[in-house]
């Protein structure tokens, strides 16, 4: 790397700042997540799920959650645990999934409500929140159930519906590495929703496989810049194999 790195002689201060972000355990990092919180959960296809944070949240007992997630878990795994324990009251998802048994039971019984959103629009509505936009017109879902109740408009000869930003109080995400300032990297297809959600919530909580010293991630390889990351915990990988 032919980058000029400024030598900082403020080791202590850096450390003080770092300490604000790094937590020793997964229970402490979710300890203030209140009932009724709107929470984004990363992960797709078994990859990149913040399973340790989800399990810590289950232990904490937070209820009345509004969850934003591509799917609704796999049996007891991933978000499945929080549905099983009746902690989620409403979910915004693109593909709840046939194996999201705890969700499906509660959805059928009417104890959980669902807003079904096309997957790319789910991403884009979160990104709009992250980017300070107030809404956008999209051709996706025009003429389908998804358009119900949404304003439709003809723009340059194309039909579009107005989509609104999705904001959240917390994002629970999973990354591969964090440096002590909160710069993140992800592995292969385990990025999925994580980098978007990291930018879209008021407080982003990340579980990582490894915490590395500041300066050890090439600035050109950072996938989520530290500005978006508020709390970090190192947690042993847990993958639901269901």
């Amino acid at each position: 790397m032919n980058v000029n790195i400024r030598r900082l002689n403020r080791g202590q201060l850096f450390e003080r700042r770092m300490k604000h972000k790094i937590y020793r355990d997964v229970d402490a990092i979710v300890a203030d997540v209140p009932d009724g919180a709107r929470i984004m959960f990363g992960g797709f296809g078994g990859a990149g799920f913040p399973n340790n944070l989800i399990q810590a949240l289950a232990r904490r007992g937070t209820k009345g959650i509004v969850a934003i997630s591509n799917n609704c878990g796999t049996h007891d795994g991933e978000l499945g645990l929080l549905f099983k324990l009746d902690r989620i009251r409403h979910v915004i998802a693109s593909f709840p999934g046939p194996h999201a048994t705890h969700f499906q039971e509660r959805f059928a019984a009417g104890s959980v409500t669902l807003e079904l959103v096309p997957q790319g629009i789910l991403c884009e509505r979160m990104r709009a929140a992250a980017a300070g936009l107030l809404g956008f017109y999209s051709p996706v879902g025009v003429g389908t159930e998804v358009a119900a109740g949404k304003e439709e408009r003809l723009i340059d000869g194309r039909r579009g519906i107005l989509e609104m930003p999705i904001h959240a109080d917390f994002a629970f995400i999973k990354a591969q590495k964090a440096d002590e300032l909160g710069n993140l990297t992800y592995r292969l297809a385990a990025q999925n929703f994580n980098p978007i959600m990291a930018t879209a919530a008021k407080t982003t909580i990340v579980e990582v496989e490894e915490i590395v010293p500041v300066g050890s991630i090439d600035p050109q390889s950072v996938m989520t810049p530290a500005i978006f990351v508020h709390r970090i915990v190192q947690a042993k990988g847990v993958r639901y194999a269901g």
Binding site: G45, G46, A93, Q119, G120, A189, Q191
Partner: protein, 224 residues
């Protein structure tokens, strides 16, 4: 009279694979379309896109080779080809919605004569249903091919005048490849292009819920 052949799912996939131009960027949906990757004709390269953030997806991982951070949109461990790239889901759908994919091939429950597609929800089916990436892909692909059986298990036509199933997108389908025919969707309506071995255009029309134009020279579906 020749035997009437109905194509197998693999044969539908093989026939659809012939529609891919060399070097195309392609997204394959669930079901029959997902079989296409294994049935590319010799001499054709396609770069497969997965909506969870992969361009240049390769074959499924072999036993022992699985990396669960490298899965396709169906959770199946896969591989990548040289020249692949990874990105997040918003960028993956910038590709789908923004007209960057040369071809998308999706499964279908119904296709209307105007090219409307219904492929995400069966009326009355149990559960919440799920959209996934289908609506973004259908709205944005440069060319959309639907692969499906020509009729339901009960024999009802799946190519119809108006879809009665919940819609995925309006006027999005370019071509339909079924076990009985290849049919194109034009502005003026449907046009039969090929029939499965042993079938006449009239016989296909009887199993189709919308009228199609019959070409002067009707081809037989190539199976390889």
């Amino acid at each position: 009279m020749r035997d009437k052949v109905r194509l197998t799912r693999e044969q539908i996939a093989k026939r659809a694979a012939l529609e891919l131009p060399d070097g195309a960027y392609v997204n394959l949906g669930w079901g029959i379309p997902n079989l296409i990757a294994d049935h590319l004709p010799p001499g054709i390269t396609a770069y497969f896109h997965s909506e969870n953030g992969i361009l240049g997806m390769g074959r499924r991982a072999k036993a022992g080779e699985e990396d669960y951070d490298l899965v396709d949109a169906m959770k199946v461990p896969v591989t990548v080809v040289p020249g692949a790239s990874f990105f997040h889901q918003a960028d993956a759908h910038l590709m789908t919605r923004g007209g960057h994919l040369d071809v998308a091939v999706l499964g279908g429950f119904q296709v209307s004569e105007k090219g409307d597609l219904a492929n995400w929800k069966i009326p009355g089916a149990k559960g919440s249903g799920g959209i996934g990436g289908a609506m973004d892909i259908a709205a944005g692909a440069k060319t959309l091919i639907v692969c499906m059986e020509h009729t339901t298990k009960e024999g009802a036509p799946k190519i119809v005048r108006e879809c009665t199933y919940p819609l995925t997108a309006l006027s999005c389908v370019d071509s339909i490849v079924t076990d009985l025919a290849v049919i194109d969707v034009h502005d003026a309506g449907l046009a039969l292009r090929e029939v499965a071995p042993g079938w006449t255009a009239t016989e296909i029309q009887e199993l189709t819920g919308a009228r199609f134009e019959i070409p002067t020279r009707l081809l037989e579906m190539r199976l390889s």
